[in-house]
């Protein structure tokens, strides 16, 4: 019960009133980010990261993670009321959430969505509380080869679990690695891919990439539709909350199943978006009346919201214990950790107890705070969405520019950010996944250095990656993940099904 003692210690860290203030500010900003198109968890946190440089790391991570929870809650509001998913992981929520709003049951749908998000997050935080110290303790015995194997598994999982064409996942990922390699090589001191320019010596900062890819790219996509928001308005009364809550316990098995799906896909980097879709699909398959799904079935709101929030939360587990983020937003927070001078990984649990347990304790509290805030302030957020896009868009672009500039106080970064925006727009339209690109950009140097360290240890002998059962089984799993699309294709062929590769990915 070490975890319990540590958790109580963590709540002690939270007793500092400033931390509570940062938490509330974070949640409110997060909901705003989640509601606005073009601002999401990843680039919202990236833009606000420079503001935290002067804070203590604990206060900073509490605020940034609260922004993330807020963004997860905020996505549901736009999905239900406007049929516009504020975040990719709330796409599945629109399937049943918006029909409910059209039937005049928006208050029920929102209450169900918020409650499910809350329960999903809570279950995931419990998993983190008890699993994280175990994983961290285990990872203390890791050498460079084991770390590289885990990183390999992370990236191969994208290929195996992604819905996109495996070739496109690989291309996006290796593009990230290539961009990460630009600049000064930290081992030999050689310049790589700078082509004689001074500007490229710093390399490409992933924060710039995140702000451009997710911020500008999303604005361009939204603009393409020539948006006019026409949504339902609603207020949530105590009575409707009570009426919905009475109905929710029936779905306890949906909650457990969705939270399990969410935690699994959050820890292995599948992320919140596939988790929400998978959970929606499972709920429909196991439902007694699958025909009602898509027409305003409350279970169709419960399942994806629970899974998305569980996945979003549990994505922080590998980030804290192994230094490998489970989602782009977790990757940005990992970048923050490095900037604040903390080395993510198992040693964090020994050297920075206040930081780790303060963060975990804050997850409990900020989800309660976030839940209460969104339940009471829905009309406010709905009215923000009624501000025309021609006002919101330039303001968001200005914020993206400021965010890109403040990372290094370099004007060139703003220009690079705009280019990443165009890449993001093209990639999204052609179904290239952005998450592996961002994660490769973040982890590129780390993966390369653990690879080179292992190569130095083994004198260039690749067999170090299956030299003992631990590293061997991780690498084996990684290979299964990498060739999973091929394996399923062969299985389909053997069954006589026509599993043909089609452009755009299947």
């Amino acid at each position: 019960m070490d975890a319990f003692v540590s958790l109580i210690h963590g709540f002690g860290v939270l007793a500092d009133p400033m931390n509570i203030v940062y938490m509330c500010v974070g949640v409110v900003l997060g909901v705003l980010i989640g509601v606005l198109p073009g601002l999401g968890g990843a680039n919202g946190v990236a833009i606000l990261l420079p503001l935290t440089f002067s804070m203590s790391p604990t206060a900073a991570i509490i605020m940034l993670s609260s922004i993330y929870w807020g963004a997860l809650f905020g996505g549901a509001i736009t999905s239900v009321l406007f049929n516009i998913p504020g975040e990719p992981w709330s796409v599945a929520t629109t399937f049943d959430g918006h029909p409910m709003a059209q039937q005049g049951k928006a208050d029920e749908a929102l209450t169900a969505a918020f409650t499910s998000s809350f329960i999903g997050a809570l279950l995931a935080v419990v998993v983190i509380t008890f699993l994280a110290p175990v994983v961290a303790g285990f990872a203390l015995r890791f050498g460079p080869a084991e770390f590289f194997a885990v990183q390999l598994l992370t990236f191969c999982s994208f290929v195996g679990m992604g819905r996109e064409s495996p070739f496109k996942v690989l291309a996006a990922m290796t593009l990230g690695f290539a961009l990460a390699a630009v600049g000064l090589d930290s081992v030999t001191g050689q310049l790589r891919m700078t082509f004689g320019t001074v500007e490229l010596m710093r390399g490409f900062d992933f924060l710039i990439a995140v702000i451009g890819l997710f911020g500008i790219g999303e604005i361009l996509l939204t603009m393409e539709e020539g948006l006019s928001f026409r949504g339902k308005s609603t207020t949530i009364t105590l009575r409707s909350v009570m009426n919905t809550w009475i109905r929710l316990p029936r779905f306890w098995i949906t909650y457990l199943r969705s939270a399990a799906v969410g935690c699994w896909l959050g820890i292995t980097p599948g992320g919140a978006t596939p988790a929400s879709f998978m959970s929606y699909g499972l709920a429909r398959r196991f439902s007694k009346n699958p025909g009602d799904f898509g027409k305003g079935e409350i279970e169709g709101v419960v399942a994806p919201e629970t899974a998305a929030h569980a996945a979003g939360t549990s994505a922080l587990l590998p980030m804290l214990t192994l230094g490998i983020p489970g989602s782009p937003t977790a990757a940005v927070m990992l970048g923050g950790l490095l900037i604040w001078g903390l080395q993510p990984g198992p040693m964090l649990f020994i050297e920075q107890k206040d930081f780790v347990w303060g963060l975990i304790a804050s997850m409990y509290l900020s989800n309660v705070v976030g839940f209460l805030i969104v339940l009471t302030t829905v009309p406010l957020w709905a009215s923000i969405l009624r501000i025309p896009f021609s006002i919101i868009a330039p303001v968001i672009i200005v914020l993206c520019c400021i965010g890109a500039y403040t990372v290094h106080n370099a004007f060139l970064d703003v220009v690079i950010m705009l280019f990443f925006g165009i890449i993001g727009y093209a990639f999204k339209k052609l179904h290239y996944p952005l998450a592996p690109l961002v994660l490769a950009l973040v982890l590129g140097d780390m993966a390369e250095s653990s690879f080179r360290q292992s190569m130095l240890i083994s004198q260039g002998d690749m067999s170090i990656f299956w030299s003992n059962w631990l590293v061997g089984s991780i690498c084996g799993l990684a290979m299964i993940m990498l060739f999973w699309p091929l394996i399923t294709l062969l299985l389909d062929k053997m069954r006589g099904g026509g599993g043909r590769l089609s452009p755009g990915g299947a």
Binding site: L51, S54, I84, P85, P88, V91, A92, F95, R163, F167, K168, A171, T174, L175, F177, A178, A181, Q190, L191, R192, M193, I216, E218, L220, L221, T222, E224, E225, G226, L227, P274, F277, Y280, G281, R284, S390, I391, A393, P394, I397, V398, C401, I402, N409, V415, L418, Y425, A426, K428, K429, L430, H431, R452, M455, L456, G460, L501, P503, G504, G505
Partner: protein, 187 residues
């Protein structure tokens, strides 16, 4: 199936369940998805070639003390090249290639209407600082794309840079690019 729907993430969803938009697009057809797939895969192959070329330049082999600086990036470039070549080939030879429009003309126009002023905004920012440039940019955007009168656009355009100025320069002490006007005011 719900799985396929995930591919139509945010944008297509808005167009009203995606594919039916394609038929309406024929009048404003620009380039097909297939062409764009080929262009992007080709560009990625070019990037991969550059990566491999430069890795060989710094040394992609084995030095006496371990792998050379180009060892890891070379293999990254190789995978990028292979994966993009596969995407290229699939789109070139597949009979199921997506011949629908990558972007319709009106949509492309809207995207250009955002990109062009943003590019100008960056140039202006370089000379007069971020606050003045943002004020002009927000006003212009609102008047041009939102068809607002200057009496409505100006207050928004002035208020937002002022809030940002307070937030960054005064509250958080983070300096942003400033120009002659701020200098004249003593910042």
């Amino acid at each position: 199936m719900f799985m396929e729907r995930e591919q139509n993430l945010v944008p297509e969803k808005l167009a009203g369940e995606g594919e039916e938009a394609a038929s309406a697009n024929e009048a404003g057809l620009t380039v097909t998805m297939k062409t764009m797939e080929l262009v992007v895969a080709g560009l990625l192959m070019l990037v991969a070639a550059i990566v491999m070329y430069d890795s060989v330049r710094v040394g992609a082999g084995w030095a006496f003390d371990g792998p050379q600086a180009g060892y890891f990036p070379f293999f990254i470039g190789l995978i990028l090249f292979g994966a993009s070549a596969a995407t290229f080939a699939i789109n070139l030879f597949s009979r199921t290639a997506d011949l629908s429009s990558f972007v319709t003309k009106p949509a492309l126009l809207l995207v250009a209407k955002v990109l062009a002023p943003t590019a100008v905004y960056l140039i202006v920012m370089y000379y007069v600082g971020i606050y003045i440039a943002s004020a002009l940019y927000i006003c212009f955007f609102m008047m041009w794309l939102g068809k607002y009168s200057i009496r409505k656009a100006a207050p928004v355009g002035i208020a937002i840079p002022l809030i940002l100025f307070w937030l960054f320069e005064i509250a958080f002490l983070i300096p942003l690019p400033k120009g002659p006007l701020e200098a004249a005011l003593g910042f």
